[in-house]
């Protein structure tokens, strides 16, 4: 499955360029943070890796052939919560894998222990807080044992304690052998979690570098300004 190689990947819906020739190689370990300003193409990159978006041009190659049917999962910023219990929502990812109902419930109960939601298993998933819903979505993805997990701003709009809990779970999933690629705007989170950073702007990968180097010596001027909190991409009207 790894390395995953993107070569000259473009995505141009209705003539608008969202990804503009992305070249990238992802190896089989670690946590990669995708950073950059809004509209840089971060979420679209994740959707492309996940197979939700078909590139307009370029290639996406998985070691060993075609994109694996199973093994790639994605957790969205606002995860789906069906009108059912926390336990049912956690077990949802196992449904298409042909796992029996009893086994699904057993495994879901186990994973809920690991994300500290076991005591709320019978409650409605829609009554959970934003942080708890994100933990539940991570649990749902984790339960399918993905090789690659894509996280789209999993801690956006969460308070520090909820963020810390989500980060703990992300570390555990990584320790379990899952390769993680996630988008974030949180620079502190990047230093706490990340092994490497992909910095994007205007649909292009400006740099892909280890996290310490990215913050100590960013290669591009755009990245340097991004870290400093300046917004060079906001052109005066």
């Amino acid at each position: 499955m790894f390395p995953v190689t993107l070569s000259g990947v473009r995505f141009q819906p209705n003539g608008r360029t969202v990804l503009d020739g992305v070249d990238l190689e992802l190896h089989d370990e670690g946590i990669t943070l995708v950073m950059g300003p809004n509209g840089a193409g971060k979420s679209v990159l994740l959707r492309t890796l996940c197979g939700l978006i078909e590139p307009s041009a370029g290639s996406l190659k998985w070691a060993g052939g075609a994109r694996p049917e199973q093994g790639v999962m994605m957790v969205f910023q606002h995860p789906m919560m069906i009108r059912a219990s926390v336990l049912e929502n956690a077990s949802l990812g196992l449904k298409p894998l042909g796992v029996s109902g009893a086994e699904r419930r057993r495994r879901a109960a186990e994973i809920l222990e690991r994300v500290a939601l076991a005591d709320r298993a019978q409650e409605s998933a829609r009554h959970l807080s934003g942080g708890e819903q994100q933990r539940l979505a991570l649990a749902r993805a984790w339960l399918t044992r993905p090789r690659l997990l894509l996280l789209d701003e999993p801690t956006a709009a969460l308070d520090p304690s909820a963020t810390a809990e989500v980060e703990r779970i992300i570390r555990e999933i990584r320790t379990d052998g899952t390769r993680i690629v996630m988008t974030t705007h949180n620079l502190g989170q990047a230093t706490r979690l990340g092994d490497d950073v992909i910095f994007m702007s205007a649909g292009r990968v400006r740099e892909h570098t280890p996290v310490q180097r990215f913050f100590a010596r960013p290669a591009s001027e755009e990245a340097r300004l991004f870290i400093q909190g300046e917004l060079p991409w906001r052109m005066p009207l």
């Binding site: 959707r47 996940c50 197979g51 939700l52 049917e69 199973q70 790639v72 999962m73 994605m74 969205f76 995860p79 789906m80 919560m81 069906i82 009108r83 059912a84 949802l92 990812g93 449904k95 298409p96 409605s124 998933a125 829609r126 009554h127 399918t144």
Partner: protein, 233 residues
């Protein structure tokens, strides 16, 4: 007979559990209840099928379902009559002028309505969930069952609409049932007949029961939905 006296007699028929009234009410509930159960098992999955994915004939199906939603009951009645009559393709079953024929006609009547409502409800959910279901590699069938399950409380509206249409229609059951006393006479056909005969107390008694049944079922459904929304969000 005065207006007040007519209503007083109608109430007396209900309170005394008049055998004729009870028989007609029970048959109505059996026929319409069965039609709605069948309509639920056919119409809701059909609506969900039209809502998700893309397949040949989907657009045509959607237009057809929407158009048939408002089809006059008498037209449905005539079509089912032709199908079940001795010279029709299903004539050898001998179903015409039986409660089964009435169930068939009402089922045909409620399916488009229930499917159209289900399509709208499920399509809204599909637009929200499609990406995640695709990420989880949900098959078309798994997506359909999951969405129907998620929307189950909202789909009560479709079931209620079907029940309302089945119980209140008169044209289809009159044509395929024949309004035979003690065999195929239901509330709506009895009301029409008794009114034409001038037996207004019985017609009003049946009308009051009909409205009460629909009101009670709607109240139960409303309470169930309110409970479910509170429980599951």
């Amino acid at each position: 007979m005065s207006f007040t006296a007519t209503f007083a007699e109608a109430f007396a028929l209900i309170v005394s559990l008049d055998a004729r009234v009870a028989e007609i009410v029970l048959l109505s509930i059996q026929v319409s209840g069965t039609a709605v159960v069948l309509g639920t098992f056919i119409g809701l999955p059909l609506g969900a099928m039209l809502a998700i994915g893309r397949w040949p004939g989907q657009q045509v199906g959607t237009v057809l379902v929407n158009a048939l939603m408002g089809a006059p009951a008498v037209v449905i009645g005539v079509i089912v009559y032709l199908l079940l009559s001795r010279s029709g393709p299903f004539g050898h079953f001998g179903l015409l002028f039986s409660p089964t024929a009435m169930v068939i006609a009402q089922t045909v009547l409620v399916i488009p309505l229930m499917a159209a409502i289900a399509r709208q409800v499920v399509e809204d959910a599909w637009q929200r969930y499609a990406e995640e279901l695709r990420v989880m590699r949900f098959s078309w069938w798994h997506s359909l069952t999951t969405l129907l399950y998620d929307c189950r409380h909202s789909l009560l509206v479709a079931v209620l609409a079907g029940l309302g249409r089945a119980m209140s229609e008169v044209g289809a059951v009159m044509i395929v049932g024949g309004n035979i006393d003690g065999v195929t006479r239901v509330m709506t056909t009895a009301i029409a007949l008794e009114t034409s005969k001038g037996d207004l107390p019985l017609a009003i008694a049946l009308g009051l029961v009909l409205i009460s049944v629909i009101l009670i079922l709607n109240t139960i459904a409303h309470l169930m939905r309110a409970w479910a929304m509170k429980r599951y969000g």
